[in-house]
């Protein structure tokens, strides 16, 4: 190709951007860009069967004992929000990743990356909240790390937590196990965490404040495992929301998932905030909800089990697993029509009008 035609080619090529050459914010959004990055860069680099399962936690065997192991970094802004702060979130996020594998969470690590100039009082408050959340979840913070970066090199405070838990013998939950006929259960209303953060950031005020749902889910999970042994997998729909979590399950299990739009609970003020900001609650983050796939016939007993726990009181069956449209999540609208609930490319962006 000569220079002129090369120049023309770059001019004509309207779009295909080499997302490969630069890391974009969207690579951390939990949508398709994140999946691509994991598939193309991280998975090939670390040749590990446990990693390749792409669940929220790795399950590894040590001397016949099955351990769940996970790690998560917390970069939430603002650090304090209605319903929690970065400290409690750092416990709940990691505990929940362990719980989604059916594990009983035992130990956490906590690493703090602090920007020079950060308020000692705020740090004390956050550490106190992390301690309280760990105590409440009956997990012990057993190791940690502290780094301070120069002013301008961080954003106040980042926290990383890793966690270890024990998986009960014989239990195997994984997102590649959904089968046609299975039911999809959701533990409660979606979008609370993400909209609590957005409302705070945008200075939105409603009649009642939107509170984050940030909570440790392992107690609920223990009740669910008691109720039935027919659970195929669980996910906590954090970044990317319910839509992304279900798309991942549909993709990994090579099945279709059909949801009933009218059955998905959303708090009124979350709906209102989403309408106002042009966001779809299906893609908004949750920090205290889970979605479970369960074999046909076991859904009612599981539902009863979930509703008996304070964090599952509003649990619902929201859809089922289908043979049709493998890899796609579809939704039956209240009008009787269907539509796709796609994975987002990157972050959800407010629309212009």
């Amino acid at each position: 190709m000569d220079d002129e035609s090369r120049r023309l080619a770059t001019l004509i090529c309207a779009a295909p951007l080499p997302a490969g050459e630069t890391v974009l914010l969207g690579h951390g959004g939990g949508g398709r860009l994140t999946s691509d990055l994991i598939r193309d860069l991280f998975l090939p680099a670390f040749d590990s069967a446990a990693l390749a399962r792409l669940d929220d936690q790795a399950i590894v065997s040590v001397n016949g004992c099955r351990l769940a192991f996970t790690t998560d970094s917390f970069v939430v802004k603002p650090l304090f929000f209605p319903g929690g702060d970065i400290g409690s979130l750092a416990v709940h996020g990691t505990v929940n990743d362990l719980a989604m594998g059916g594990a009983r969470p035992l130990f956490l690590s906590a690493a703090f990356i602090i920007e020079e100039g950060f308020s000692m009082q705020e740090l004390r408050r956050i550490v106190g909240s992390l301690r309280d959340a760990a105590r409440e979840a009956s997990v012990e913070v057993v190791t940690g790390d502290t780094k301070v970066v120069e002013q301008g090199s961080g954003d106040g405070l980042f926290i990383n937590t890793s966690g270890i838990g024990l998986v009960p013998p014989g239990l195997s939950l994984s997102c590649n196990q959904a089968k046609p006929g299975d039911h999809v259960l959701l533990s409660g209303p979606i979008g609370d965490h993400g909209m609590a953060i957005m409302a705070q950031r945008e200075g939105l005020e409603f009649e009642s404040t939107i509170h984050s749902d940030s909570a440790a889910l392992h107690g609920l999970v223990a009740e669910m495992l008691k109720a039935t042994d027919k659970i195929r997998c669980m996910r906590d729909p954090t970044r990317g929301g319910l839509a992304s979590a279900l798309n991942e399950i549909a993709g990994q299990s090579r099945v279709g998932i059909e949801l009933d739009e009218g059955s998905i609970p959303i708090h009124e003020q979350v709906r209102a905030a989403c309408e106002l900001l042009g966001l779809d609650p299906m893609y908004v983050a949750n920090e205290g909800k889970l979605v479970a796939i369960v074999a046909e016939g076991a859904e009612q007993v599981l539902l009863q089990g979930m509703r008996g726990h304070s964090l599952g009181r509003e649990a619902r069956v929201i859809g089922s697993v289908k043979r049709e449209h493998p890899g796609l999540v579809t939704m039956r609208t209240p009008l009787g029509t269907t539509r796709i609930v796609d994975m987002l490319a990157g972050d959800q962006l407010p629309r212009i009008c």
């Binding site: 309207a14 962006l349 629309r351």
Partner: protein
């Protein structure tokens, strides 16, 4: 939620669908002009509820989609300059220019910020006098008043570091072009409710008179759109061609006159190129000369470049209602939201992207007969 739930009500929607089926005796091609309306039609599958004799085609009313590549390239060039902060509505960031997009510029260190209101950009200019704040003023008549207000405020406050990169477009000239085309097949229009909230609907009466085509000013919820279709079908079946207002809870005949005044004060009408449609005379807004020192194109001396569209893209035909997205051979194959070839696929509100996002699982011709 009031003003939302009743407009998504299943019983009302289905009753309107049967009313449409009952009234329809001939084939009619209808166009919803606004991208927000297209988005609702696809999201709720409203086309599935209509009789086969009604075909909905999708108009040019997605401002992100019709912003020319050249303008996006200019925004990218500005955002790449170290002294510039480029401020934009969120959905412009993902739109690819000739060789990059604003997300990539941001990742490479460019100062790109998302706001909900151009007034936030004015506040930035006041708070950060050392930065050159450029607001990417895109959109139809809907966003023009707020953008005009930002320039007016900046001038009043003497903010020499506030600029607008203007790519405003106007709906009626594009619809006139479409109606005058010998190939036109659109027989009735759902006029854009948000645009008419600002402008009223006098301009559409001229169009209806000139071309003997009915217009219904429509809202954005499923019931709004079905009711608009019902009103259009009633006019067409009765042989009438006037402008009716379905979206009366928001739109008045004269519109928002205060908003029109600020637009008039700040902007003047100019010729404007539309992505996918080409140059349309008197179809854009630019800053008046008195605001020249806030006009990014003049101040930064941006070079005029031309960026041809890929020949494979049929967005010109789609934006004129001559074809629908799934009738394009590149749809969902070589052209996807991740790798868009042209106008309709670049924004979530573009017709092609809406088809891709919500409806690629159903074969294009499947429809429920409501006979």
């Amino acid at each position: 939620m009031r003003y939302v739930d009743e407009y998504r009500d299943q019983n009302i929607a289905l009753a309107l669908a049967s009313e449409i089926a009952r009234r329809t005796t001939r084939d009619w091609v209808l166009m919803e002009i606004c991208g927000g309306q297209t988005h609702t039609i696809m999201r709720y599958g409203l086309d599935e509820l209509l009789p086969a004799r009604i075909q909905l085609v999708h108009g040019p009313g997605c401002p992100v989609c019709v912003t020319p590549l050249e303008t996006i390239d200019k925004a990218i060039e500005l955002a790449s300059r170290p002294e510039v902060t480029l401020v934009s509505y969120g959905d412009m960031l993902r739109v690819p220019g000739s060789h990059s997009d604003l997300f990539h510029v941001k990742a490479a260190g460019g100062d790109v910020r998302i706001v909900y209101s151009p007034m936030d950009a004015v506040k930035m200019a006041a708070a950060e006098p050392q930065r050159k704040i450029v607001f990417f003023a895109v959109g139809f008549e809907t966003t023009a008043p707020a953008n005009a207000m930002s320039a007016w405020q900046a001038r009043r406050l003497g903010l020499e570091n506030f600029f607008l990169l203007t790519a405003h477009v106007l709906v009626p000239p594009a619809i006139r072009l479409l109606l005058r085309s010998p190939q036109n097949r659109v027989q009735g229009f759902i006029a854009p409710g948000h645009v008419c909230t600002i402008m009223g609907y006098q301009e559409y009466e001229e169009l209806a008179r000139e071309s003997r085509v009915p217009f219904v000013v429509g809202g954005f919820e499923p019931v709004d759109l079905l009711e608009s279709v019902a009103m259009l079908v009633a006019q067409l079946e009765d042989g009438r061609a006037v402008v009716e207002n379905q979206y009366a809870r928001s739109v008045s005949y004269r519109g928002n006159t205060a908003a029109q005044q600020i637009m008039e004060l700040v902007f003047e009408v100019c010729d404007r190129k539309w992505r996918g449609l080409g140059m349309i005379p008197q179809s854009g807004l630019r800053l008046r000369p008195v605001f020249a020192r806030h006009d990014a194109e003049r101040v930064f001396g941006l070079e005029e470049i031309t960026s041809p569209e890929p020949p494979e893209c049929i967005s010109a035909q789609i934006l004129q209602g001559l074809k629908r997205p799934h009738e394009c051979p590149a749809f969902a194959a070589r052209c996807t939201p991740k790798n868009p070839l042209g106008a309709g696929m670049v924004s979530a509100e573009g017709a092609c992207a809406a088809y891709y996002q919500y409806r690629r699982h159903v074969p294009p011709v499947s429809r429920i007969e409501n006979g």
